[in-house]
Subunit: 195 residues, 2 copies
């Protein structure tokens, strides 16, 4: 008994990714074996290599996809008429985007240590792009007089940390709706930068 009936790379491939995403997020990359992933998918471990060259590539692919999608989501924002509007737009997009994919977010922040040096450099570069985009907004706000920010770079790190922290506690169907969370956080961010 070798090939499973009904198997098709278009089906198994995404299943491998999904299983890896879920397991890596829950247990951590290093703690999850390829056999575990395979079991979740319903194949033997050797079959995974039809879909990924190796374990590290699987992780990198997940993390790269996440960052690419994040940057695309940000790029899809309409050009806001003012720095304050841009900041609000960014804030809401960040919370909404991340809330839709808790596992991917978790991995994106928790598994940097498990990337090979080259992969780490690639992901880090993408993260830097994202951070720089927020910093640009803050700088524009300072120049326009909309914001009172002592240090745009530090403020960028603070805001991103705050926003990303939503992922550690927010759950759909909880006490607060996503819209409420967005509003509360936007209110805090706005005030924190003096807008």
């Amino acid at each position: 008994m070798a090939r499973t009936q009904g198997s098709h790379s278009g089906i198994t491939g995404p299943r491998v990714r999904k299983a890896a995403l879920t397991l890596f997020a829950r247990h951590g990359y290093a703690a999850v074996s390829m056999r575990q992933i395979a079991r979740d998918v319903g194949v033997q471990a050797g079959a995974l290599y039809n879909y990924t060259p190796d374990k590290q590539s699987l992780l990198f692919d997940l993390m790269k996809t996440h960052m690419d999608e994040l940057l695309a989501s940000r790029a899809a924002l309409a050009a806001p008429p003012s720095p304050a509007a841009a900041l609000e737009s960014f804030t809401r997009m960040h919370i909404r985007f991340h809330s839709e994919r808790p596992d991917a977010v978790f991995i994106a922040y928790m598994e940097l240590r498990n990337l090979s040096p080259e992969n780490f450099a690639a992901i880090e570069a993408l993260r830097r792009v994202y951070e720089d985009q927020l910093e640009e907004i803050l700088r524009a706000g300072v120049i326009s007089g909309d914001f009172t920010v002592a240090d745009p770079k530090v403020t960028t790190m603070a805001v991103i940390a705050m926003l990303t922290g939503v992922n550690t506690w927010f759950r759909e169907g909880g006490r607060l709706s996503l819209e409420e969370v967005e509003q509360i956080y936007w209110d805090m961010v706005r005030k924190a930068v003096g807008a």
Copy 2:
């Protein structure tokens, strides 16, 4: 050749903890073997069991110690005369305390997944105590009219995330001194809660 000359549990014990702390923080608990820790210490892996019952206990101990020290640090704060002063005191203490032990902080946030269920529950309870303390400050500020906070619990999570995020980028001897970082963050926190 069995016992190493000059060996003494008072020396080796702390070395084991220190090596584990450093290695877990850098590579992650699951990715670090006991042989690796032993190598760092300069003993064989079997010797580690003179100092810890097992690998999980080593991790738990590090994380528990961190939380105990954090709560002690917070308890040592003088009773502030007002909610605003309490919040400032908390903010500065959080940043200072965490900046002094980056590895322990990293582990405290990144290795929750690798705790056994009972250990996780114990650490989580301690984290909840700390969060509750900040939430109390915010609630007191709302009651006294010092703060304008829509949701103290959510604000608590936002502030802690922001403050803890300092650990991902702050380095002694960098562009900013710790005092400057404290001041910038306190300013943001103060404004974010409308104080």
